[in-house]
Symmetry: C2
Subunit: 390 residues, 2 copies
């Protein structure tokens, strides 16, 4: 155990796709040149293609939170009434952003680990016909729970309101038919299933959402979606673009297109299923058993064990960074990521390491039990005949 | 299984140490400058330090085979009588090189998977007092077997002959007291435990070996050890050096020094032990059970299964490159590497993948069995109390 490779196994930043990392070395270029315009336009076209939408896709130099704020400050007006679905730290972020901009917020709150039900959204819209927007997380990264955004899209689509969706860990981990399901604003970030470092966010904007931008009166300057969309169409950016990250994104998108966005989603869902099977085999409790997402799986630490010990065990014993719980969940859960550039070999070693860490902290498990559960999910999916002794 | 990360798991080239890879990006420098001289001298000083010798260490721009040939063409003379120990493909290479240069070769041959005994070397030297050199592999990469080079050093040290040792996969995987054991020439390569790409080889040369260089009459020009050693002392190289690889080597040596060369050796030995335990737990037979080295472990494919199926399974199912047998061993054995930048997490996933591949090819094993054997070796070494159920 003298060599411990640094392994980044969190739900964002996620493991980097090496050719994308290497592509960043070609950053000695200027962004106001025809050469860069070609790269930029082509990357944005690929991004739109993998998102599978006819809507405009607007790139921003920011983290995902910047794109969340941009959706509020560009599409809404002072005092607008909105519904915020919140079942975790990122739901709370929607509440924070909308309130910071003086919107009137009706909060549909569920405890961490649960999800807001589409029926609750329908009821809120019926009771409040003045609502202009509904905010939700496709995948709540603090708990691993996924929302039923298809149903929410149908419900919101029947009203004048728009559905604004943080899909930062949702894109690439769950099917999202942006146009078909009426998902008006869909927000993504570079450091998630897109396999590159943080620094770029993007959002798709439906015609219905653009309509609202026309009358929006909230102050904004840097995050100007209308201006940015117009520039992007010409291969330009309103401000200096993050060229190294665009080069990385272009490379990662080529890879994602080569395997297929649907297969990227399948991959995350299969690894999520295997992770849940391993947790069960090890006698561990899932934190969001009723609405599990595929970006990450939050697992409760065994009774009496601080989840920080598990996180520390990964770091100190194996050089790997996994995620603790966030906010009030810190110390209670740990989060195993499987979005983007993760494969079965990653999961084999994560679960084997977890078993060792559990034992080292006094939680009895039989070595290999969780790994065997992962192997069985692989074998079933790959059509490998299971050993009769398994 | 849609994402399969490309994993290089062979005994050379080995997995790259990422900061060393990234350091290569600083190659826009000229080698005849004070800046580069500083880097070169410092890297060579670090190399000598981790090799733990007072002998000159001479770097070459070549693969390991180049350094093997250099040791012959620089130190010996036409018709010299030498002893070649051969128990695998690389032993055969010593025979090929010495014969190509017109030396008179006494071959001490053992079957693949075995090792030449020091007693055989002693007997050959006693029977042939005219022998000028003994050639051996510290670690025979084609079989995973290690030679008892300490005993050989003592035996050869009592004669006028020199011991010339291919330690290309030996350095960093076994203790080697170059000065103390009388190892006259010790050859290494960049792409092994040194964690960087191929292209640099190096050899330590004892005063006794240098003495032979003075009278050597074999033709050589590019591989001129005397000239290269003199230049290296001044931070210069006889010909253009591989600057990107020197930058990488400098970075990798910083890392190796930070953990300690003895710990790098421990790491390989511990992983080798865990690999043997896993093979045993899975009912697989080791190919070199009597003299196992720590660079790699060669394992026999189950009866009736071509080892190529295992190699292909790693590639097709998991994107990983492992080594088949070489030469006559192709199809019979596969080789799991653990030299250089390998850790327990690598081994967890290699063994889990191996279990799946064995089952997919009809060899019944209980999932998790081999992984548990690896976990037990980790637990024992790390002082983790084993679960009573294990």
């Amino acid at each position: 155990m003298h060599i411990k490779k640094q392994r980044l196994l969190t739900p964002g930043p996620t493991p980097l796709y090496p050719p994308a990392l290497h592509a960043m070395m070609a950053s000695d270029l200027h962004h106001r040149t025809e050469d860069f315009r070609k790269i930029y336009k082509s990357a944005l076209a690929d991004l739109k293609e993998v998102m599978g939408t006819s809507h405009d896709v607007v790139p921003l130099v920011s983290s995902g939170t910047g794109a969340m704020e941009a959706s509020v400050s560009n599409l809404f007006s002072k005092g607008d009434h909105v519904v915020v679905c919140s079942a975790g730290k990122f739901g709370e972020r929607w509440a924070g952003i909308t309130k910071a901009h003086g919107l009137q917020v009706t909060l549909l709150e569920e405890p961490y680990g649960s999800a807001v039900k589409p029926a609750a959204v329908a009821a809120a819209l019926q009771a409040n016909p003045d609502v202009k927007g509904v905010f939700v997380q496709a995948s709540e990264s603090s708990t691993g729970a996924a929302h039923d955004v298809k149903s929410m899209g149908e419900i919101v689509g029947k009203t004048d309101a728009i559905l604004v969706m943080d899909a930062i860990t949702g894109l690439g981990t769950m099917p999202l038919d942006i146009d078909g399901w009426g998902l008006d604003v869909v927000i993504g970030g570079s450091q998630k299933a897109f396999m590159i470092p943080p620094g770029i966010a993007f959002l798709s904007v439906s015609p219905k959402a653009w309509k609202m931008a026309e009358t929006s009166d909230l102050p904004h300057y840097y995050f100007d979606l209308t201006k940015e969309a117009k520039n992007a169409a010409a291969g330009e950016s309103s401000w200096t673009p993050a060229t190294s990250l665009i080069l990385a994104l272009a490379e990662a998108l080529r890879y994602i297109k080569s395997i297929g966005m649907d297969k990227l989603v399948d991959n995350a869902q299969l690894l999520a299923r295997a992770t849940r099977a391993a947790a069960q085999a090890l006698g561990l409790e899932l934190f969001a058993p009723d609405s599990p997402g595929a970006a990450l799986t939050a697992i409760k630490a065994p009774a009496g064990m601080d989840s920080g010990k598990i996180v520390k065990g990964f770091k100190e014993r194996f050089g790997a960074i996994i995620a603790n719980g966030q906010g009030s969940m810190k110390g209670r859960i740990f989060r195993i990521a499987h979005l983007g550039y993760f494969d079965f070999n990653d999961l084999f070693s994560v679960i084997a390491a977890l078993e060792v860490i559990l034992v080292a902290n006094g939680h009895e498990v039989k070595f290999g039990t969780g790994v065997a559960a992962v192997q069985e999910v692989y074998a079933e999916a790959a059509g490998v005949r299971l050993p009769v002794t398994a």
